[in-house]
């Protein structure tokens, strides 16, 4: 039997079966499955949201707690040189001034002060006796009171200067 004859016979088979199709009930079954799958996916989406939604406030609380615990000391701007130290050309972290704060000039803590490149300003709480150390007048009975101060720390980690903060209560 020649190769052409085989191909003719295969062509005859292809023609005989050309109109053969899947029975219509398969399409119906598939469409039904399509709809149920679509519904299932919609429910899955809702279920996922329902599962996670109650956790959102808890997650927010955790994030806020984390931020609170890991917050850096407040940093206030430094107005250059009301102290007898070299100019303070650049500070890494600068926070906009709080309008209700009244600050003193900076008082140098190192004599003589090495050159100052950059540093950080740390908000700390100290006894009022620290004000007396830099020559500010403090009444004896208030020496143990807590006062807020900004300490300027050089990049080498040494305190260079200090200023005291008073909150103006309006």
């Amino acid at each position: 039997m020649s190769d052409d004859s085989i191909q003719d016979l295969l062509r005859a088979l292809a023609e005989a079966d050309a109109s053969t199709e899947a029975p219509p009930e398969i399409e119906m079954r598939l469409r039904k499955k399509f709809r149920s799958r679509k519904r299932r996916r919609a429910w899955q989406g809702i279920a996922q949201w329902a599962l996670w939604a109650p956790l959102v406030p808890a997650a927010a609380a955790v994030v806020m707690l984390f931020v609170f615990v890991h917050r850096k000391p407040a940093v206030a701007p430094v107005s250059p040189v009301s102290i007898n130290t070299p100019a303070l050309p650049y500070l890494e972290q600068v926070v906009p001034p709080q309008p209700e704060e009244i600050v003193t000039d900076f008082f140098p803590l190192m004599h003589p002060a090495p050159p100052f490149g950059r540093g950080k300003l740390l908000r700390v709480e100290l006894p009022a006796s620290a004000m007396k150390m830099v020559g500010l007048p403090v009444h004896e009975e208030h020496l143990a009171d807590a006062v807020q101060a900004d300490v300027l720390v050089g990049e080498e980690g040494l305190p260079r200067a200090i200023r005291f903060v008073k909150f103006d209560i309006k």
Binding site: M1, S2, D3, S5, I6, Q7, L9, L10, R11, A12, L13, A14, A16, D17, S19, T20, E21, A22, P23, I26, E27, R29, L30, R31, K33, F34, R35, R37, K38, R41
Partner: protein, 183 residues
């Protein structure tokens, strides 16, 4: 408007049932016939057709148009299912084909033609699967060698050699059948 298979697939993945129905109606015939010629079982062909389109729903996003057209993708899924079934059971049950187009020849010629077609069909389904799938795709579903190679995941040269070998086996089987009938 005649949308491409790929456009319909995109709509299907967006949840458009009408697009699914349109693609199914367009492509169920080739998939069903391929499954039928591979397994020679109507029930298996129906199951495979259904599984192919369900797989399209589940894994349609994996279709990569750079590797072939969507019909090749569907044939590829059908092929996997068919081969799995062939591996499970080598016993083939006879299949009842319905000829929807009665010939105009006389009854004797029609019977002879039917018998010949049936002999060829049986010869095809008795081919080893690796030759059968090449013969079915290229001669019964009229895929090009390149398209068949994409479905079979082999080089075009392999498709050609499988077809050549498949025709040879078919010739031997059909000659044997003819001789058997003469005796």
């Amino acid at each position: 408007m005649n949308e491409s298979d790929e456009t319909l697939l995109a709509r299907i993945l967006d949840g458009d049932e009408e697009a699914f129905a349109a693609l199914y109606r367009r492509r169920q015939g080739p998939v069903y016939r391929f499954a039928l010629h591979m397994t020679n079982r109507v029930a298996a062909a129906e199951d495979i057709t259904q599984e192919v389109f369900l797989a399209l729903l589940e894994n349609g996003h994996r279709f990569d148009s750079s590797r072939g057209n969507l019909l090749s993708f569907l044939y590829g899924i059908a092929r996997n299912h068919a081969l799995r079934r062939i591996e499970k059971s080598w016993r083939m049950e006879p299949v009842a084909f319905v000829d929807d187009q009665p010939g105009t020849e006389d009854l004797l010629n029609d019977l002879m033609r039917r018998e010949t077609v049936e002999q060829v069909r049986q010869a095809v389904v008795s081919l080893p699967p690796m030759y059968r799938e090449a013969v079915v795709l290229c001669y019964l579903e009229n895929l090009s060698y390149e398209e068949a190679a994409a479905v079979l995941e082999c080089p075009v040269g392999t498709v050609r050699s499988r077809l050549s070998r498949g025709r040879l086996i078919l010739a031997q089987k059909l000659i044997g059948h003819a001789v058997g009938n003469c005796l």
